[in-house]
Symmetry: C2
Subunit: 464 residues, 2 copies
């Protein structure tokens, strides 16, 4: 299934045949963008680009795909022959993976024959929507923890095996330190981490025996799960007994809380560890955590050192999708601007071939973005296009990533992308990064784009 071009919405294929047979083909420009930030937040972290580029480069219809389409009975031999040779040969511009992005900004711009541009729509949206959602969730959790240690523990609650794999990648990009998913850790080159399960504790004759057995095997990474019987009367006491054996050999240990009142328990467990002489023993916490609970625990000074976050990190919790869309922006050899005018006002699109400029001040802080037409003069100097002041500079965000369907840029690793996210997050006012932001980051349209949009809206309403 992995690189099959058949992983597309069926209507892309019927429409593709339509373009092919009707001869109504030709160059098009499509924009991928989203309409509102997930999680009620004030920022979104763009992710999924490298997997998308890799996928597009290898996109093929297999013989068995063609045989299946033949069996459907509505595709001509000529069209199926064309699909047999199908490669994505378009150009693709995108903002670098790990960039902080905002609603309505084109994040990806595809220049391709309409047939090719359409055939990649579903898979492009699938990969980008999901990884962007999870990278954003992860960045929110990372910030809520005070840029602490977040472990992604979501494999068992993720949406399918690739849901888990992609989420491990996106969570790492957004700021998580490690994943519990061993296959993801291997393939992505990121750290794998874990503690122990209740079943381990139950598999021994006593809690203490289970802790001792673990400490003997993994003296350098023992974190004891202390809530199987009773956290305060049994778990922490047995952890201290086993921990003493480790400490006597110069090893640190830790405990994990997985149920109950995490604030109250962490305070009492911390006190007990300190009393026993182990101020450097770490406390990890898990149990259906999300950024809101972590923020609250941090605010109330819960002495928790590591956050194991599963379900809500890898699925997004109550916001389980990003509303990313892929819309025709221009067509024809001259890139004639096109827009969709919707009865739902927010669903109208921005026409034309566009670039996004990010305006920053001399301290490298980001001030606002400007969406402009590609053929406008870039707003590099005062009074030009987006009225950039002399203390400001503007950089274009969309960069050429695929040229004729082949990757052009170097391929950053998940760690490189995580570094970009962290450095980007430092360049926005903290009010914008709060879980429920009071202000919005300004995203402006250039005068030329605004004028074009008004003209097109008028011309469509005059008669389509």
């Amino acid at each position: 299934m992995s690189n099959s071009a058949l992983t597309t919405d069926f209507y892309e294929l019927t429409m593709a045949q339509g373009y092919f047979l009707s001869g109504n083909r030709g160059p098009t420009v499509f924009d991928m963008f989203f309409r509102s930030h997930p999680f009620g937040g004030g920022f979104t972290v763009f992710a999924g680009l490298q997997p998308l580029l890799q996928h597009l480069e290898g996109l093929r219809f297999t013989e068995s795909d063609i045989a299946y389409l033949r069996s459907v009975g509505i595709f001509t031999k000529e069209f199926l022959d064309c699909l047999s040779d199908f490669r994505f040969t378009g150009d693709l511009y995108a903002v670098p993976e790990g960039t902080v992005v905002f609603p309505d900004e084109p994040l990806i711009r595809v220049h391709a024959d309409i047939m090719e541009a359409q055939l990649i729509e579903s898979v492009l949206l699938n990969i980008i929507n999901f990884q962007t959602l999870i990278a954003t969730k992860s960045a929110r959790i990372f910030l809520a923890s005070g840029k602490g240690t977040v472990l992604e523990f979501g494999l068992r609650r993720a949406q399918g095996l690739d849901g888990a794999f992609s989420a491990a990648r996106a969570a790492f990009i957004g700021g998580a330190s490690a994943t519990s998913n061993a296959a993801a850790a291997k393939d992505l080159g990121i750290p794998a981490k874990g503690t122990m399960a209740h079943s381990w504790v139950l598999a021994f004759d006593s809690e203490l025996a289970s802790f001792n057995a673990y400490a003997d095997l993994y003296p350098d990474s023992s974190i004891f799960l202390i809530d199987t019987y009773d956290t305060l009367t049994s778990g922490i006491e047995n952890a201290i007994i086993t921990g003493k054996r480790l400490a006597d050999n110069g090893k640190r240990f830790g405990v994990r809380l997985d149920s109950g009142d995490l604030l109250d328990l962490s305070v009492k467990v911390r006190r007990r560890l300190d009393e026993a002489g182990y101020p450097d023993a770490v406390i990890a916490a898990s149990n259906e955590l999300d950024e809101w609970q972590i923020e609250e625990l941090v605010k109330r000074k819960a002495p928790i050192d590591m956050w194991g976050v599963g379900t809500r990190l890898v699925t997004g919790g109550t916001d389980s999708s990003l509303t990313g869309v892929y819309k025709l922006a221009a067509k024809g050899a001259e890139n004639e601007p096109v827009m969709k005018v919707s009865e739902s006002a927010g669903k109208s699109t921005n026409p034309g071939v566009k670039q996004v400029y990010r305006v920053r001040n001399t301290e490298e802080m980001f001030l606002r973005d400007l969406i402009a037409l590609e053929n406008e003069a870039p707003p590099v100097s005062p009074g030009n296009g987006g009225s950039v002041h002399c203390t400001e500079s503007a950089v274009p965000l969309l960069e050429l990533q695929l040229k004729g369907g082949k990757r052009r840029k170097s391929q950053p690793s998940p760690r490189d992308i995580q570094d970009r996210v962290k450095s980007e997050l430092d360049r926005y006012p903290s009010a914008l990064l709060s879980l429920r932001p009071a202000s919005e980051y300004p995203v402006l349209l250039s005068e030329k784009l605004k004028t074009l949009k008004e003209e097109l809206t008028r011309s469509y309403s005059d008669g389509a």
Copy 2:
């Protein structure tokens, strides 16, 4: 990645080595169950079993997996050699896929050496949790539509490519008629369906030209998307013009609404189609639908014939995970019962090797379930175990699916499983199936199981 046994939580591997090296191995019994229905509903549809069985049968560590684990530096040569030969050789009991199930019931019971039982935990939960979530969502949508035609359109908003594929399967099982995902349709042998996109309409010189081109190509399956410019002044009128050409040749056509007030628009579009002489032209609707909106539209008699449901069907919407868990229930050659006693009351488990019985009356309606110990006499006659009356009968739900790691039962197709779901849904009172049920289906514990649970709780609190 597909069948790699490395798709597991890292702690399963560290614990597995612990069992291997400490010699603390031996037979165990694990239960998979969930704690509450998703979506605030009164029932859950069990799904994902066939993909899980297939996955487990082929489970292997590849050479590259072993090389990765060696590089981590904490695994011994003996253990890695053991993993090289690893196969899942346990027995697995499960309720048939497509069965309606309830909280706390063991849905899967694994009998295996603790090392094997633990290594499959993460992947078992991943597959079952997600597909069960989506099959349940789909059944709710199917029921809300009045058992109508539901099309799964979720590929672009699903959580990864396998998230989309698995969701297509589970949505079909729960009652959807087709998927938009061509690869899923091919691999699962289920229908692929679709209409047309806004980009198709925009790619032609006029809306009418785009409709005509489509009708010429697909006279047997033309559903025109009518909201690109204006639904009532433009879209429906152009659809009727093109539709006349189809109708003149004895073909039916349809329209799709994708924005605006679906009740108001569907009533007006229906009236216009009827006036024009096309009472059999179908109306499809889409746009962020879920079971609640569909129920409301059906209640208010919106004349909608087909429901295209995407995001919220394939991700679960605000409930993006099922809280399924996998817990040790017994250990040792004698299957000594084990339970986890939790400070959070709801998190304590049911100990011992268990069976679930479904009690039905002479009309084959389901009355209640009974969770009993496997070695109790089954409640087949009055006064025995669960006090089944003489007008009632009880059938065990858990059936042997893997014997020594090999599939034993026939493998039902997605369509077979959908049939089971539909026939199951007919056997419950409709109050239980409503979106917000007033009553709960009774799930009882046998007296012997209750007694065992009380004894174990007491013995643990006496000192662990």
